[in-house]
Structure formats: C-alpha cells, structure tokens
C-alpha cells in the first residue's frame, strides 16, 4: 500500500514514514461499475483518491461540464471537502470496478495539527491540483481573469 500511495501525486513528496502515518488515516473502498460515490448536493466530508479503475464526474453546472470528466489512478475527487463541508459540486460514479482510498476531513485536520511537515506537503499538492483545475476552467471563459 505504501508504494501505491507514493505514486499518488498528493502524497508523492512524503517520505516512507510520513506515508505510513497517512496510511493510518486512509479508508480503502471498492466501488462496482455505475455505483455512486457521492452525489451533487451531498455534504462533503472527504477526498477520494483512485488507486485502480476510474471515476466519472457528472457536474450539472455549465462551467464545470468542460472539466476532464474522468479521473484515473492517482487522481482525486472531492478535494474541496477537505477545506469546508459545503455541498458536493458534482455527482461521481464509478466507470468500472474501482478501488479508491478516502481521506476524511476531520482526520486530515487532526493530521495537520499533529504533523505540520505532512500537512504542508499535502496541502501544497492539493493547492496545485486545485489551481490546475481553476486554470482549466478559466481557459474556456471568454474574459478569464488571471489567477
């Protein structure tokens, strides 16, 4: 599992000891093809990282429809739930039998408080992912502001 986690972008800057600490907080889930992971409007409580298989993202919001709609191994969905518990902005369904690991918001917050080194590294990677997604969104806008 340590090697699998190390290959995930969010965790790739962590050393083996840090990965083991994070592993304690991850919950492995298996989703069958077409099984709903979460629905748009649900209160979000954590991020799901794909280990094997694929998730399909189905947003109803117009501006979100242009985002890459499939996420594969190493990619994640629901990162915003790590920062607030607002409603999910899209429905996520497994495109095939998918193994994912979930990181729960409350435990992530505790980890940040306990081990700031892990916190900084993981937050930086999540920040990069969110920034990349924001840029991707704005590329399709006519008068995109500079981020």
């Amino acid at each position: 599992m340590v090697e699998a986690l190390k290959s995930i972008p969010i965790f790739h800057t962590l050393n083996r000891k840090e990965i083991r600490e994070v592993e304690e907080l991850l919950y492995e889930r298996v989703y069958e093809k077409d099984e709903v992971v979460f629905e748009e409007g649900d209160a979000g409580h954590g991020v799901f990282i794909v280990v094997s298989g694929r998730f399909r993202v189905n947003p109803s919001h117009g501006s979100l429809k242009s985002v890459n709609l499939e996420v594969g191994p190493g990619e994640s969905v629901g990162e915003l739930a790590l920062f607030d518990e607002g409603p999910r902005s899209a429905t996520v369904v497994a495109s095939e039998r998918t193994v994912a690991v979930a990181l729960f918001q409350a435990e992530f917050a505790t980890l940040l408080m306990k081990n700031k080194s892990i916190g900084v590294k993981v937050l930086l990677e999540i920040g990069r992912i969110l920034s990349r997604r924001a840029r991707q969104l704005l590329q399709d806008e006519k008068h995109a502001p500079t981020l």
Binding site: E32, H45, F104, A109
Partner: protein, 367 residues
C-alpha cells in the same frame, strides 16, 4: 470541525430510553464497564502524549509502551503511598468510629451554640439526641452492612481492574486499525456518514474525558490549596481524593465534603471553626465548579442542556444507583450523537436509495 448534531424531540425520547436501559445493564456488568471506562479515560488522557512522541520520530507502539509503563509506575507509587497512609491511620472500623465520634462532637458543639443563640432550638433537644451509644451502634452497623460488602466487591473487581493497562495499551496502538475494521463493514452509501459518526463520538468522548481530567485537576488544586491554608494535615491527599470522589455527580461531592469535615472535627476537636472553614471551602469550590469550571470544561464539551443533565442524573440514580449517577452524562452524550446520526441516515431517502442501488449492482456483478 463540524458541529456535533443535537437530537430532535423523537430521537431524544429514544436516546433517553436507550441510555436508561444501558445504565441498568451497566449496573449489572459494572465489573466489565469500570475497567473499560478507566481504560477510555487513560486512552484519551495519554493519546496526546503518544501522538507527540510519534511526531518526534518515535514508533507509535514504542511510544505507547513507554507511556503505559510510565503510567503503571506512577499508579504503583500512588498505590503504595495510599497503603502506607491507610496502615498508619489504623483499622477501618476503629477509624470510622473515631471519625464519627469527632463528627458527633462537632454536631454537639454546634447544637450547644445554636441553643445559646436561638432559645427555640432548645425545644428540639438536639444535643440530647446525639448520645455516644447511637454513634457506636451506627459505626458498627455501617461497617457490617456497607463497608465490608463494598470492600469485598472492590476485591472482586481487582482482576478486571488489572486489565486496565492492557486495554489502554491496545487502544493506544490499535484504535485506528479497529476503527478501519469497523468502517470496512459499512456499505459505501453510508460510508461518509459513518465516518462522521465516529468522528463525532471521538470528539465527544475526548472532550468529556479531557474535560473531566482538567476539572479534577482544578477542583483538586483549589481544595488542596484551600485546606492547606486552613491548616488541615494531608491537604493534598484530602483535596485530590475529594476531587476524584466528585466524579459521581452530587453524591460524590457530598461524600468528599463529609469526609474532610469529619477529619477536621476529629483532628481538631477544640477548634470547631476548622470544620466550618472546610465546609465553607467545599461550598465555595462547589460554586466555582458549577458556575466556572464545569461550563469551561465538561459541560461546554458535552453539549447537553442543563435541564436534560439533571433529568438524566435523576433517571440514572433511579435505575442504577451510584453507577447511574457516574455514567448518566457521558453515556447520554454518546447516545445522543449515535441517535442523531442514525436518525439522519434512516430518514435520508437519497442514501437509502443509493444503498439499494449498490446492493443491486453488487448482486448483478456477483459481489
């Protein structure tokens, strides 16, 4: 951090009923519940230390072993000190009769003073009713009827109490894996809600137990300092013992207060003001406890309405006596979180539909 959900009216009734039934069950299984509760208390008190050591590079199991060993050594030292103190104070029956006689002396002096100040009090013949024979008989009967059975019961609990360090060590090292194991059996549809429930439970219990320890420390310090200022011997021991006795709501505080007043009345028979000062100190600390310490620590963390707290204490005492008083509030806090989260899951149509769909998919794929 999410706000801990508060139960609705219907859920509240169910939660109160379930808590009451569990309290009854706890009374029957106190030999098992007590070590578990003590282990939980130690777990939530020691976990921050183990976490801090783990962050500084120590392996989690080594950190847990070191902390548990330290706690064992401290407990052993305290036990030896308590045994030495008890052996110096003499036999239990003799001590009890002596302290009761001291208390009787104080009451007699108080009655005399009352009769001098208020002549109407003479009609009540307070002083005459306090004869030595009554006290001797009460002391003998108390030892025979209560003290011996309680001592035997405590001895019977010893084997299970010896399990406390082992359970604590298991909790400190394996709680994460145990939680993962439990969560594994939760269907995907309810996964996030189940995690939320565990998080709320963990937060509630941690807040309660850490609050309780802080409260005990504050109360113990105030009493010890107050008793030392009054001039009582063994102020620290008496203060700390009274603070631990206060874990049993209301009853514990009264027992602690009576214990210290009896000691003051016996050790200082010519200075009744010492006993009154101790009584005053306990009343002052009680007020501080109720209006400052408790809201700052346990009460604020448990999120239980004061009226409901009192109701649960009465119910707890009615169905399970002292056990009910001791467990009513923490158990109610935990059951309220479980009840509300379960109610949210049961009444959420979307989650239930998702669960049914997942089952159909699993059946179709042979999962």
């Amino acid at each position: 951090m999410t706000k801990i959900p508060q139960p609705g009216a219907a859920t509240l009734v169910v939660v109160v009923l379930v808590t009451t039934l569990l309290l009854r069950l706890f009374q029957e299984m106190i030999w098992l519940v007590l070590p578990l509760l003590l282990a939980l208390l130690l777990f939530y008190t020691l976990r921050p230390v183990v976490d801090a050591l783990a962050v500084r590079g120590m392996h989690r199991e080594t950190a847990a072993k070191a902390v548990c060993l330290f706690q064992l050594v401290v407990s052993a030292i305290l036990l030896v000190l308590a045994l030495i103190f008890l052996s110096r104070t003499g036999g239990s029956q003799d001590s009890l009769t002596r302290y009761l006689a001291g208390g009787q002396g104080l009451l007699r002096k108080t009655a005399q003073a009352l009769e001098r100040v208020a002549p109407l009090a003479k009609n009540l013949h307070l002083e005459e009713s306090l004869d030595d024979q009554h006290v001797k008989e009460f002391g003998d009967k108390f030892v025979e009827k209560n003290l011996l059975p309680i001592s035997l019961q405590l001895l019977g609990w010893m084997p299970s109490v010896l399990l406390v360090p082992y359970i604590t060590y298991f909790m400190l090292t394996q709680s994460g894996r145990f939680r993962k194991y439990l969560i594994q059996s939760v269907p995907n549809a309810f996964f996030e809600r189940a995690l939320l429930l565990f998080s709320h439970l963990d937060t509630s219990l941690q807040s309660y137990f850490q609050g309780l320890m802080v409260l005990t420390f504050l109360e113990g310090t105030c009493l010890a300092v107050g008793l030392a200022l009054v001039g009582m011997p063994h102020a620290l021991l008496l203060g700390v013992t009274a603070a631990f006795l206060a874990w049993v709501p209301y009853l514990g505080s009264i027992v602690g207060c009576v214990m210290v007043v009896l000691v003051a009345a016996t050790d200082f028979p010519d200075k009744p003001w010492m006993a009154y000062a101790c009584l005053g100190l306990f009343l002052a600390v009680r007020m501080l406890d109720d209006f400052v310490f408790m809201p700052m620590t346990v009460g604020r963390q448990l999120h239980v309405h004061p009226l409901l707290s009192v109701l649960m204490l009465f119910l707890g005492a009615a169905v399970a006596g002292a056990t009910g008083l001791l467990f009513a509030l923490p158990l109610f806090g935990v059951m309220a979180v479980i009840g509300e989260t379960t109610a949210q899951i049961v009444t959420d149509q979307r989650l239930r539909a998702r669960y049914r769909a997942s089952r159909q998919l699993a059946a179709a794929t042979g999962g």
